[in-house]
Symmetry: C2
Subunit: 351 residues, 2 copies
């Protein structure tokens, strides 16, 4: 853990909450349980003076109010979002950042305006290379004062499912989820989904800001430029069966037939299979999949029937997607502690 | 920290989130930002089969559906709730439990049925001493398998402001806040406000269950029976000014005039004064108070105008209530790590 203290880990964890894993039982994550990762502070936004500017390499710059956006065609996407740092606290040593174990995920129904339709309205310039998204959240990171900014290549930004969302689960965005507007890029890790959006800027070059060039890259060591994080790697999670011990969260369960249940997702392709291990990863059995919620961008549900015999068991689950990506059994170390999708372990005492 | 590991602290902190302190700017805490402390798992409740039983030492036991409750007179109370463990992670060493720093607080508009009216409907027996509240949440704690239960003396339970709430901020309770019904006892620490309520049982004796007799007591050491926690001690908090550094949360601010702002509350009486220190607690100046929101059970707002000169400053705030309780400058150690209301320190670099 190097120079990252318990107090620093706790002050991050207590403000950036995860989704308690029993909430895997809901196809759409209830309000307030979706994970949050907020780099700086939650801005208080005055809707009356707020505008979305669409500018840069465009033919007709736009400056839109919230009402302007609600006056355009609305689209809705049900989508699973995961933090690129999910699993970081399972690395040894843990890189100094938000200490996620497994819970940095959630699924929401996002409603808003298709990004492509606004870009077409503004008219992309011939030199357009990337689209830059700028939030209102401001802070200091890596020694630099900055607002939160991320970019997307034009081809990704123009995809059907990419939204500027003003609603989440049928209600206006909550302050902590980016009120009044955020980017939603289904399939990509959470850092892409810029909150408190204030500008969409068309660039004639690749964006080289802090959150693109320094953060959110898989680096083997400090000298390595690394490769950028984009889409979510596959992961299966299990709602822990039985009841928890308050401090350790270890589970107790009565002997007999139990249905293990959970969800699995990948940003690269649909889930092809989920496997369950009852012996800590020594042997694996297939789980049953079902499409709930019914969206190509959301997690799917899985179940597995378990005849639980008395004793202490280490349950695991792992997913493989239709593009052939599978969860590795060992975490792949990187300096930022990103994308650790090694399988969840759930210790259960049956008695 | 003894036998409590970083992983245990993090897995508690990431599921039991605090209120990010910038949310002190809202008189009523937005949905999803109110603190949560959930001992076991969030139960999934089927409203069709759910009932509230009012039984024990009563003349006419009741078994009520959610519709039955909504058919009775509704009352609303705007109330501030704080976890009894708020401040625990500021003890050295930290007792093994949820590692709160300062953020275990929130204010909500609770709506439901007055508890007294249900108790009167059921008819208290002559031997009634305490009212026991039983939740649906079940787990293992202190080596005991248990459901979450807490009691109140009859006189406290009969107070006007004590509700069985089915709405929070104008919407049905969220799963994590106790859907479909929870107890709300304004002025008391959070452990009293039993969630996922399923039974209200009138007792002819004092309840001696785990959460009453073992947990939530101020004990000087392991041999000490201690005294039970009841009402919230006074506390003032400040919305940290300026912008944060991502990892350390230390603040940066431009020189000049700034209005420091925050909230203060006590469960014993109204707030009499809030004081601010600009020098780490050496000297104190009075802040200005205002009644917002307008409820005797909610926090009040305070402001203080600060001419910030370049340099590194340690800001503090502290409250005193009209019953004469004031925040102590040093934390009062106890084995459970409860009720640490020593003043918040905010380090700000003005540059």
């Amino acid at each position: 853990m190097a120079d990252f203290s318990m107090v620093q880990a706790v002050q991050m964890a207590t403000r950036n909450h995860g989704m308690p894993l029993e909430a895997l039982r809901y196809p759409v994550t209830p309000t307030g349980l979706h994970y949050l990762l907020i780099h700086y502070d939650i801005p208080v936004v005055d809707l009356g003076s707020w505008r979305l500017d669409v500018d840069g390499e465009v033919q007709r710059p736009l400056s839109l109010t919230a009402d302007d956006l609600r006056g355009r065609n609305a689209v809705e996407v049900c989508s699973t979002m995961e933090c690129a740092g999910n699993g970081r606290a399972r690395f040894e040593p843990m890189p100094a950042s938000q200490p996620w174990l497994l819970e940095a995920v959630g699924t929401a129904r996002w409603r808003g305006v298709r990004l492509r339709s606004l870009l077409e309205e503004a008219g992309l310039g011939e030199g357009a290379v990337e689209i830059l998204f700028t939030g209102l959240d401001r802070g200091v990171e890596g020694g630099l004062e900055q607002v939160y900014q991320r970019s997307l290549p034009v081809a990704e930004a123009m995809r059907d499912e990419v939204l500027l969302a003003y609603e989440m689960n049928g209600a206006p965005l909550l302050p902590q989820h980016g009120f009044p507007l955020r980017l939603v890029v289904p399939g990509w890790y959470g850092m892409t989904n810029v909150k408190w959006l204030t500008a969409v800027t068309v660039l004639d070059r690749a964006f080289d800001g802090y959150q693109q060039e320094h953060a959110y890259r898989l680096r083997a060591g400090e000298g390595d430029d690394g490769i950028p994080l984009t889409r979510m790697l596959p992961r299966a999670l299990m709602a822990p069966p039985g009841i928890p011990e308050f401090l350790t969260r270890e589970r107790a369960l009565a002997p007999g037939e139990h249905v293990l249940e959970g969800r699995a997702w990948s940003g690269h392709a649909a889930i092809a299979s989920v496997e369950v291990s009852l012996d800590g990863g020594e042997s694996w059995e297939p789980a049953e999949l079902s499409r709930e919620p019914d969206s190509p961008w959301a997690w799917c549900a899985w179940t597995y029937s378990w005849s639980a015999a008395p004793g202490r068991h280490t349950l695991c689950c792992r997913a493989t997607d239709k593009a052939g990506n599978e969860q590795p059994l060992e975490p792949g170390w990187n300096t930022g502690g990103y994308a650790n999708n090694s399988p969840q372990l759930v210790v259960v005492t049956v008695r």
